[in-house]
Symmetry: C2
Subunit: 249 residues, 2 copies
């Protein structure tokens, strides 16, 4: 192995890949039960009774429309923390919450900074990091991703993604900016995402990256997600340990 | 301690600081003997005889003029790897080197990715990282800083600095973009730099950051650098372990 980005990583199983880029929400961390837990901790003591998983789903359901507003140029780029807050303010009234104090709403918005990884996350990422350069290429902002990395004991070589590109996935600029930041051609980068995340599979491949999918069956509720992608990818793995084995790390 | 950027770090000795930002060349790593070592390894076997430390000094002496070209807007922003190569091409003929093969020149340019830290670096940074968010705020590009971090076993929360700001220190935008990336006011950030680096001391303080200087007496040759800064700073430390002690980590 080389400790220099512009060095060579041996091993035919790596497809010449030098950097692994990771989608984060759903792929590395379990946003659904994490948001439900954080919402319960902040809202229940204040007397709000609500379906916590439905609340998590409703918040996340506003994600794509918010991204679309930026991707289409209807609104200027704003960090995901800012968009999450706008999304939160949209859904709170639907759950009968109209008088949440500002400090509580602010703290609730940061629930996305306090999500836990799927069980395989930390040991598998440590293993993969011995061979490959590692970075999140997520729509999350730098502060959010740095908090998730610290909470889950991940060592990334850099935080890449939407905030350094000034746009949101699956726009090509986000993938290409990540490869450029590491001084690598896209073909030396592999994007890793949950199997149901078709937009990452298509977006990364269109930029010339290698692609790897992970089965995250429980992202949307127990067993609800696809275990294999709907489009062709280079590697189909069961989880991150399986990916490490396939990449011969 | 908090693992969330927007949480609170206790302890009056921290001045309310939540993030430590580090200058890199001279402050964390010894560029002068590292560049001399790399130049020797690449040039000596090819029959070039030169004063290696003078070569390192000459290369670094082109740094400020190159930065100035970008800071003044005379040339568009380019990553430090690109500027280092232009600087290298300027100085090679001065040392009688006119026929260096392109692959060797390319590899020599990446010598800046292969520098070693001062002796206190790795243990002290690990110690500081238990309490504070940590990031380089350097004029180096992301790939360069990621390589230096990996080589020296540093765990940064993000790679900030010139490349995410699109300009070079000491322009205020570079310091302010770093604080914004962590979602922090400048007053919750402390810039750490070698005592002789007056431009960082002035630039960071002008943006409202806290400032800490480290004695790096040997940056420009044995004992040649100042041990204390020429302008007022918040903390004057002997090295990074001393800084950790002052910050009560």
């Amino acid at each position: 192995m080389s400790d220099t980005l512009n060095g060579n990583v041996p091993g035919s199983a790596t497809y010449g890949v030098k950097a692994l880029f990771f989608d984060v929400f759903g792929t590395l961390v379990d946003w659904r039960t994490g948001i439900a837990r954080e919402a319960e901790a902040l809202l229940k003591p204040r007397g709000y009774a609500l379906d916590l998983l439905a609340f998590a789903d409703a918040w996340r359901a506003e994600y794509d429309p918010a991204m679309d507003d930026v991707r289409s140029g209807r609104i200027p780029f704003a960090r995901l923390d800012v968009l999450h807050r706008r999304m939160l303010d949209l859904i709170l009234p639907r759950f009968g919450i109209r008088d949440l104090p500002e400090d509580v709403a602010h703290d609730l918005n940061l629930a996305w900074h306090r999500l836990d990884g799927w069980p395989d996350l930390t040991p598998a990422m440590t293993r993969l990091g011995r061979r490959f350069l590692m970075a999140p290429v997520s729509n999350g902002n730098i502060a959010l991703l740095a908090d998730l990395a610290r909470r889950n004991s991940l060592r990334f070589d850099a935080i890449l993604g939407a905030e350094i590109a000034g746009d949101y996935k699956p726009k090509p600029r986000v993938y290409l900016a990540a490869a450029e930041a590491f001084g690598l051609p896209a073909s030396a980068c592999m994007m890793v995402f949950a199997a149901s995340h078709t937009s990452d599979a298509v977006g990364a491949a269109a930029c010339g990256m290698r692609t790897a999918s992970i089965a995250r069956l429980d992202e949307f509720g127990l067993g609800k997600a696809a275990s294999t992608p709907a489009v062709p990818v280079d590697i189909i793995a069961q989880d991150l340990n399986d990916l490490a084995a396939i990449l011969e790390v």
